[in-house]
Symmetry: D3
Subunit: 243 residues, 6 copies
């Protein structure tokens, strides 16, 4: 099977890191490709960048459908465009935030999210309510750091995340951590060993969940909220996906 990961931002380093995380945890026989959203802003740090990225994200979903991918992953932690992508796709679509929450709730009664952009906190909190995890996620914490600095597993940025995990265990009584970033699978593993609790990274989680859905023959339901849009309300280049 072939899984397409869409980076709603356009920074090439991020797309490469996401691709690597996806491939490292995919099953043998699964091909993972990662693409940026068309005409996207460099990175998604809040609702404005997400709004600017959505049209290009939808384009990539449409292209992936035409190319026959088996599933789509949206690789920004606040899962922008999830409804639009599901309306347009016949293949399964999963957001990396969503993926991480699902797996966290299977290994922990309570968990804490640690994100890097304060502007995304309300978006994440709304998603938690909508998905049903608001009673399982005790708190969304912010470690204001640059993602670049996390490439070094011994950096000061890593220390700040580690310090937030300490607080999550002590103050939130949390039993697992969800990293609110895309593709830092090695960091997750290292922090998990250090703190003795599960640390979940979203891209790898999403790859495994898409594989699970595909293997079980499950695809996005097309009756109800994610029914395809009317053909005539779509621009010409997308109209083949309309109803």
């Amino acid at each position: 099977m072939r899984i397409q990961i869409i980076n709603p931002g356009s920074a090439p380093g991020t797309t490469a890191r996401i691709a690597a995380a996806g491939r490292a945890f995919a099953s043998r026989g699964t091909e993972v490709i990662a693409v940026p959203a068309t005409d996207a802003p460099a990175s998604i740090e809040g609702p404005v960048e997400a709004a600017l990225a959505l049209a290009g994200l939808v384009e990539q979903v449409a292209r992936g459908e035409s190319d026959g991918v088996s599933g789509h992953i949206i690789a920004a932690f606040d899962d922008p465009g999830l409804d639009a992508a599901r309306s347009l796709a016949r293949a399964p679509v999963i957001g990396i935030g969503e993926a991480a929450f699902h797996l966290a709730s299977l290994v922990a009664g309570r968990f804490t999210v640690i994100t890097t952009h304060a502007r995304t906190v309300p978006l994440i909190e709304h998603n938690l309510v909508r998905y049903g995890f608001s009673a399982r996620c005790v708190r969304v914490r912010v470690a204001e750091i640059s993602l670049h600095s996390l490439d070094d597993l011994h950096s000061a940025a890593r220390d700040r995340i580690s310090a937030e995990i300490d607080r999550a265990i002590r103050e939130d009584r949390s039993e697992a951590i969800v990293l609110g970033t895309a593709g830092l699978a090695d960091l997750a593993r290292s922090l998990s060993s250090e703190h003795g609790l599960p640390v979940i990274e979203g891209v790898s989680a999403a790859v495994r969940l898409v594989e699970s859905l595909v293997s079980l023959g499950l695809a996005t339901s097309k009756i109800g909220g994610w029914a395809p849009p009317r053909r005539k309300s779509l621009p010409a280049r997308l109209s083949g996906l309309g109803d």
Copy 2:
């Protein structure tokens, strides 16, 4: 004061109808202008069209801010782009769905929404949860009709809405109706007389609420979730609004 209503769709008839509804209910001294989102699809009937409209909607918010408008209204009933618009604007921003829900809950203990597109029902239901009205709105009903047909106050389309109101009173025990369409203020008034309960239309509600906020000196809070985006993560044409 000058209020800008943004139609996320581009159908000129809709923009004109919205402008008329806004002007009919504005205070003397309030100037109401209505503009379509840049490069928008004709109408917003679900999440795909909303995704395609968001970048152009953000552009219009930015232009309005540059032009010094006193407030913004987003005139699609599922309030697309509300977070992005609030992040970018210093002036108040109100969605017409949101506006209608607030006023409905001031005149009725329970209300029913009647919308025209089944694909928007989940979006509306999520908004109700997020805004806090999920216990006040008993049900989102769908009357599958074309908006054009509603221009005639004696059409079959009107009869279908009227029939849904009857059901809302009888089956939902509802005390007020919110019309999930933009600008049908005359229809609202006519249905209210016929059924003997408040019928709320969103554009007129939003105009009055924006006026209220402006008169009271209240603008969107810029600390927290709607803080302006970082200047460097915005495209050049918007960067003047960044932080």
Copy 3:
């Protein structure tokens, strides 16, 4: 239009302050009158005083209806007697707590209430649940001060409220403040400038919301929970308002 503000307490200073706040923010052409509830206790500091005030508050609603007022405002922050007033009135009725919550949630994702009487905290918290704002209002804080001392904008009492606002921003991550007092509109404006976030006062908010409802032709729904009481279950002096 003529709007009647009912002070459930009888302290003349409070009624005068409420009247001034209402008039300062009303539209041109709106007449604002303020009356105390008949036979009311001096001030409403908890459920016992509210219970003692309700019959007199109902009397004033009835008198206002006879006099043909366009709308009623209940000017104690825990909105006592709102259901009774709505059952009896055909004109719209708004409580000042409720009014402030609605406007706060239009300009902020999260807000904190600062009240002056600890005994009213549970009443306010129940209202927040019932109105639907319990997820938007992060916390009800108490600044134990005398209202009289707030007349001076540079008093120690003001400093205590200001200190609570600092805590709300830092500890509650709040984006706006609702003042749980009646009529301190100047204080609200001053605190808003100082702290750089919206500070909402209820009387002015309620006046603008009543005006909005009246302009839009919206009145309290008389089917369901606020249907008029049966004529025969009312005392003679009120029976004209029964059904």
Copy 4:
């Protein structure tokens, strides 16, 4: 011990019926007295009558406290004045609606309330939310009947309640019934036999719960929301109960 049941209405027949129900189910050694609220309307059929009754209800709580009663019961199904009574009393105070909900949830996973006045439905629903029973009470049904007609156990009024119980079992999947009336203990017993499920009446339930609290040495907490009012904010005749 001596328990005072306060009828917020003044209809002597109702007070007598309430007294009888209370006495029939009290333990040996418990004295039950029933009094109407001072200057009360005949019966409480919605929020207006409740507002008119509260001052007189508070008076009776105060008199009971002076007389040294062991506990108070408020005998209208929507529990009017419960907060005020608890603020004023040192002895336990229980509402009959509340009492019935507690016992229903001990013998059934889901229950239906059957009340006789449509105007009280929202009040009851708010109480269910506030007390915590909104997920246990599936529905509040209305059987529009006169209470007088229920004195005859074979009346048409009884048949209407019985028909609602049938619907509650079939449509609501309910496992118990709460009668939203005061004092019809014989009717409850008869309906329970007929339908084969628990039918709970509030006055008898409240008497047993007050006895339980008193026996266990539990009285209303006086720290927090039910702290006594300030002495100076009370009228002279009540000031002995203030703080």
Copy 5:
């Protein structure tokens, strides 16, 4: 009437303490017997011990039913086996956690639970949600102490509970305390005097509540979720209780 208290654990000291607490607060004429679950672990400190105890607890419910007891009490604070016991019994069944929560919410707007085993906190929190008390119970605190050490009313263990009560009043704004242990009725009374707020112990609360249900003729509803199991799906020794 005869009430059977089942200790899901087998430690004889605990069973004796539970019996004493039950008897001390039962009405004259009520016989209280206390039995351990058959083949039970010594004490229930989390979900594993509860799982091991359930079959033996069910056996004791069955034996009690055969012996004609009037009601059953499950005397571990996380109420293990409550659904199973209610399915099997015709007499009322009450858990001591549940009993304490009900009475606490009648005398306090907010309460704190203080338990002795951290492993039971999630079980208690789930029960609070399920029963409907999650908004009334502000927090479940843990005082890690040995129950044996509580026999001495002046021990260090008592001091730790007392310190948690101080924190509950100050940090949780709690108005009552529920002790998450079985049978420490004297301790509850002593702590209540010391701190000036209600302290509720579950065994005594449950005895009074079972008495109340029995006196009112209320037994577990046998339609719906607690219907008796099918006779053929039960082992021979229990099949007499099946349907």
Copy 6:
């Protein structure tokens, strides 16, 4: 990897069917074994059978841990013993109800559960609340049929489930179906084709989710609610798993 599926019941046909469903959907390289709980009742049709099965289920978890299995699945739809199993195991543990809910919510906005035993409905509803899916699962429907009769894909029993699916689409507005039975993967596939929406079966879902957790290096968190029990509170045969 080796995954152990524990059938809480002892009917050999069921264990075989579960094993087949698990194997059919496992990845190449995954060994699936299925065992009944020790001394279990034939099938789990409600809380009494679950109570009787738990000790034996715990024994199998312990044995699986000794044998070094990679993960455990509890194969009754109401997920009995999930907390106990997670406390005892270091490997991941998933219930089949839980697994099906997670995957359903990834492919549908709303879903309906169709179960075969009315007695398990409240247990399933409580799980939905606890897991966070109560807003996603619209309704738990019961098709009272014998599981044996479902072996024939053209039976009357299948027709009854099919009829419930029709009702779920029409009355519940559901977008996916969760089968509340264990191992009927072929039936799920057949019904999905017939009705044109996803139909999820729990055993196959759980196998894929356990594989995902194991591949990602995620195991049950051992801090907090699922910490291992104290060694001294366990029977000798289990004490090796204690702390």
